[in-house]
Amino acid sequence: MQRYFLVKIGQSILLLFGVFLVVFMIVRITGDPASLMLSREATPEQVEAFREKMGFNRPLLVQFFDFASKAVVGDFGNSLHFRTPALPLVLERLPATVQLAAAGLLMAVVVGIPLGLVGGFNPGGAVDSLGRSLALLGQSIPNFWLALILILFFAVRLGWFPSFGRDELKSVVLPAFVLGLPTMGQLVRLTRSAVLEIRGEDFIRTAHSKGLEPRTIYVRHVLRNVAIPLVSVVGIQFGYMLGGSIIIETVFAWPGMGQLLQQAIGWRDYPLIQAVAVFTSFVVLGLNLLTDVAYSLIDPRIRYGN
C-alpha cells in the first residue's frame, strides 16, 4: 500500500516534469520566442535586446534547466503586461475558477447521478429516456453557444441572472450550469452503465439467492460497487472543469484563470501564459493524484492487495 502511494507520487512528479517540458517547448515551436512575445512593430534591435534579456540565446538545455528550476518554486518571471510576478496574478484568479468548477460539478452530480441510477434500475423507462436524452444533448450542444442562448433568455430577456461578472451569488448559476452540462451527461451515462453492469454480475445473483430484500441488494451490493468507478470519474471531471473553463469564463466575463489566459493571449504575455498553463496543469495533476488515492482507499482490492 505504501508502495502504491510512492509510485503514484513518483509518477505525478514525472508528469509535472513533463508539463514543464511541454510548456517550455510550446513557446519555442516557431523557433523564435522573442518575436512571438513582442508586438509586430518591434524593431530588430528591440527584438535582439529582448532576446538577450530573456536569455533566449543560451543553449536550450540551459534554458530548460533554468525554467524548470524556477518553475518548481513558482517563479515564472514577470508578466510582460503587468510587469509584476506572473504566478501571484494567477493565484489571485484561482478562487473564482474553483468556485465556478465546484458549482458546476455540484450541479452535474446532483442531477446526473440520480438520473443515471434510475435509468440503470429501470432501463427503457421514462426517466431513463430523459436521462439518456440529457446525456446526448450534453454531448452534442456546444456549451459556449448554449451560454450565449442562455444569456439571451435568462439574463437579457428575463433578467433572472446577471449576464456577466461575478458580483452576486447567483452570477455563478448560468456559467456553472453551462460548464457542468457535459459532465452531467457523462455522469448519467456512466452511472447508468455501471448500474447495469453490476446488476448483471454473478454476486448479484447470489444476493438474490440469499433472499435478501430488494433494498438491501440495491444499496449494499449494487450501489457500493457503482460508487467506486464514480468517485474516479467525478474527480477527473472536476479537473477537466478546472482546466477547461477558458471559453465559459470568456463568455461570462468570469474573473478566473481561464479569462486571464484569454487576456494574456491577447497581450502576447507569454510568461503569464506559461504561469497559467503550468499552474493549471499542476492543479489538475494534483486532483488526479487525489482521486487515485481516494479510489484506492475505497476499493478493498487495492487497499489490501499487493
Binding site: F203, K210, I228, R301
Partner: protein, 334 residues
Amino acid sequence: MSNVLEVRDLVTRFYTLDGVVHAVNGVSFDLAEGETLGIVGESGSGKSVTMMSLLGLIPMPPGKVEGGQASFTTSDGRRDLLQMSADELRDVRGGRIGFVFQDPISTLNPILTIGEQIAEVLIRHQDMSRQEAQERTLKLLGSVGIPDPELRYKAYPFQFSGGMRQRVVIAIAIACTPEIVIADEPTTALDVTVQAQITDLFRRLREELGVAVIWITHDLGVVAGLVDRVLVMYGGRVAEIAPVDDLYENPQHPYTVGLLGALPSLESKESKRLVSIRGVPPDLLIPLEHCPFAWRCDYAFDRCWEEIPPLLSVGERHQSACFYDLEKGGPRDV
C-alpha cells in the same frame, strides 16, 4: 422417507429478440428428505434453468414459467413454489433452500468482507442481531473447514484461494440449516484436488445436517461417488432417472450410454477409444414434436420421429424416456 420436493411437468420459456427459447419442456422428479440427487446434462440441456426457475431466479422479462407444480415440504407444511408470491419466495431462498454456484470469485461481492456476506443471510432470515450473526458465522466458518475464523471474518474474497472461497459460499448456503441445497456446478471451476475436498465437505455436511442436495453438473464422473440418484437431462427434458449404481451399470437411454462411453475409466483393461456422441445439441428455439435426441441417436426409428417419448419405467425406480429397448435390441412394447 417423505419427499421434500416434488416437481411435476415444469415448463419454462424465454421470450427473446431471436425467438422463443424452450428451455424446460415438461420436467418431473422427486427429491426425498436428505437425498442427494445429481442432475446431469450438457450446456443447454436445461439443468440449471430448471432449478432456477423454481425459485424465481431466472430473469423474468424474457423468462417465464409456463406450467407445472413444485411442492416443497418444510416443517411448516407443503407449498407450491410456483404459486408463491415474490415475498414468499424471498423467504424460501437462502432460508429454506440454499445455493452454491459455480465460480466462487464472481459469486462473492468483491467489496464486502466474507464475514459480512455470511452474516447477511442470518440477519435476514433468522432475525439475529449483528453480534449473534457474527458468532454463528464464526462457527459456520469452522464447520466448513476454514482455519482462523476470527481473522478470516474480516477478509475479502480476493484474499482467499478458490477452494476457500467455495467453502465460504457453502457456509452461506447452509447457514440457516435449509431443507435443500442446490449446487450448480460447484466444483467445475476448481482444481481437481480441491474438487475432492469440496465433495468431501458436501458428504460430511450431508451426514451432519441431513440436508437434501441437488448437484447439477455436466460431468458424470463427479457424481459417481457422491449422489444417491441421477437425473439425466437433454433438450430441456428428462432423459433418464435412476439410482446411481443402476445408471452406471445399466443405462437405458442412448444418450446416457453415450455419456458413459465418453468417460475415461481407470478400470478398463484394454485401451479403448473414447466415444463422443456425434452431432450437436438441439436448437431450443424450435419446439419439437419428436424425441430431441433423435438426430444423434444410433437407434432411432420411425416412432422416435413421430412422438415425444414419455418417461417409461425400465426397472426399479429407474425410468427412461426412450422408445428403444437396448437390451432387447428393438422397440419397446408400449
